[in-house]
Symmetry: C2
Subunit: 364 residues, 2 copies
């Protein structure tokens, strides 16, 4: 979706993927290259055809990015250096902790003794996570006891040398998220939204988050501080737990446009995608102001295992200030993020309820 | 720009052009075909790769469209039948006149006697127009006397059998425009805007038009009637003269997204491009409501003959709710429409003045 914004600035885009075909963005440009995400040579060859590179996922190591940047002379933003500070969940937590930002309690897990000690210290169940590459619950395992934890450790690749970290279960009242765009001209921070999660998948967003304004403001301040900590140039998303005592714990970060910012397309004066493009190009950043007092977003997850198609969405399209986005993925499967629906309104609970109602029957 | 909206619905696009390369939309898809706009075979071969076809210009004859539709079995909207009623300026005027819509005084010019008679009846100067294919003043000639008119008649191809029509100079206080989207689910009509013209080129838009609300409403009603007259399915633009006595004369129509509707991208809840795509797909149409009380648009015309680039646009980007769109044309030349800038605000004159100020230095 960053590509669509690039087009609006008259910019041509190319895409580098590890898939030969059928990536949605590959249908948006005649300039596609396929290569290995582990090959600096492949990425260099692509980078040599571009003026600037940016990322829409975190699947390429910062070392590969750094080599491709050096060999091609094509700048990459966010920079490989920024990315190196957050690409690994362990380093990410250490980076932000060193900057005085409170993160979810964690530990590096290298063997059975570590598994046991973390449970003793933080209680069971807890989470085991592969330190790289996880998203939407993939690469995460909830473990209830030592046996489950040992099994999950192996499943996540701990026995093959992959870094595994443990995270304590945090008691929370809300999950929140904030986007920050930043470059040499300054930064802008988006409103704080609530991310409604089911089975580790974000199913909806409410913006502004239905929490105290002071909490929203604090989340925005931490997000800006975190972006500065990694000297970020681009668009960044930060996800938080709000605990019952009103503390904010930074949970995850992403150096790219993020699902928790999709509401900004119609919900804000400048979308996260536009500010992504602006940030990467070194242009002044646009206003993140909300267009309406309440913006609700429903993620439309795959309902069937089938060739992707959208049914029963007419009511959603009929609603005034309701906006449907379909991602162009060719295959649907239950739980896969296939599309989203944004509804703007005056009152959050009413708007959210209406958005749920309008999308309840959608088959995708 | 319709393609960008198609992408937002997860739709793949292909493009048929008479140019081999470097059309901006050719940078937005791997599916490009080049052929002659006069060849039903070429268009059929393209249509066979698509589920539905639509138009972003008026360069293909309705007969060619009809043949390609029949041979390929791929529907085309707006339909060749609708298009046949407006593709030729003479037939267009007769179509709307028959429906009781007042149009600018006109006449078919076939020889010198016609040239002289039109001047005698409607006064000098008047306009000679090629009945097909003109836009932005191309294909139009203002003629002050018989000698000029004879020269222009030949230049426009009148001596080669091209249909030439004469149009009287209309005394007007404002030029107005209205978009209508329509399909089998109903229609929506956009606000009435003023098109500010210099040298036959639209240089700016003010929405809503600074005329009486009754006039705006009447223009909307005529636009809907005109769309119904041609049984239009798609998005249509209608341009009017408002005369000093408060009459509206329909001047031109376009069966496609039109420059006079570019303000709708940010200015309205649903853009003309989204409603174009919705209309063509038979989907319910979205709200054309304005997002703010005043929407000003400045067309950014080429300032230099050079490879296209944008300079001195930073102030425009910095303004809150200011939106820059660059079309991705590779070559700039003075007067060519290269980009536009939309500014949303509370008060029209203030917003328009600010938009002019912010774009005055832009080099493109």
């Amino acid at each position: 979706m960053s590509g669509l914004q690039a087009f609006r600035y008259g910019i041509q885009i190319g895409v580098f993927s590890d898939r030969e075909e059928n990536e949605p963005v590959q249908f948006m440009t005649p300039f596609s290259q396929t290569g290995s995400f582990e090959s600096a040579e492949d990425l260099t060859s692509f980078a040599e055809t571009c003026d600037v590179l940016t990322l829409e996922n975190e699947f390429i190591d910062s070392e590969v990015l750094a080599k491709a940047q050096e060999n091609s002379g094509t700048p990459i933003f966010p920079s490989p250096k920024s990315f190196s500070l957050i690409e690994n969940k362990l380093i990410e937590k250490q980076t932000f902790e060193s900057a005085g930002i409170e993160v979810t309690p964690y530990g590096l897990i290298e063997d059975e003794a570590d598994i046991k000690a973390f449970g003793d210290d933080h209680g069971w169940p807890y989470l085991l996570k592969s330190s790289k590459g996880g998203y939407d619950g993939f690469g995460n395992e909830t473990v209830a006891d030592l046996e489950e934890a040992k099994e999950a450790f192996d499943k996540l690749g701990g026995n093959k040398g992959h870094d595994i970290i443990a995270e304590a279960f945090v008691d929370f009242t809300h999950e929140l998220a904030v986007q920050v765009a930043r470059n040499e001209t300054g930064h802008v921070v988006y409103p704080c939204c609530e991310t409604v999660q089911e089975n580790h998948i974000c199913v909806a967003l409410k913006t502004p988050a239905p929490v105290a304004e002071s909490i929203r403001k604090e989340a925005q301040e931490i997000a800006v501080k975190a972006t500065e900590t990694i000297d970020g140039k681009g668009i960044f998303a930060f996800e938080f737990f709000l605990t019952p005592d009103g503390s904010l714990l930074l949970n995850e970060s992403a150096p790219r446009p993020h699902n928790s910012g999709h509401y900004t397309i119609e919900g804000c004066v400048t979308s996260q995608f536009e500010n992504h493009v602006r940030a990467v190009l070194g242009l002044p950043l646009g206003s993140p102001e909300l267009r309406k007092p309440a913006v609700a977003l429903i993620n439309l997850l795959g309902t069937d295992e089938r060739d992707a198609q959208v049914d029963e969405a007419l009511n959603a399209l009929r609603a005034s200030d309701g906006h449907l986005h379909v991602y162009g993925k060719l295959d649907s499967r239950p739980g896969r993020k296939m599309a989203h629906y944004t509804l703007l309104g005056e009152d959050m609970e009413q708007t959210y309820g209406k958005a749920q109602e309008l999308t309840r029957e959608v088959q995708i």
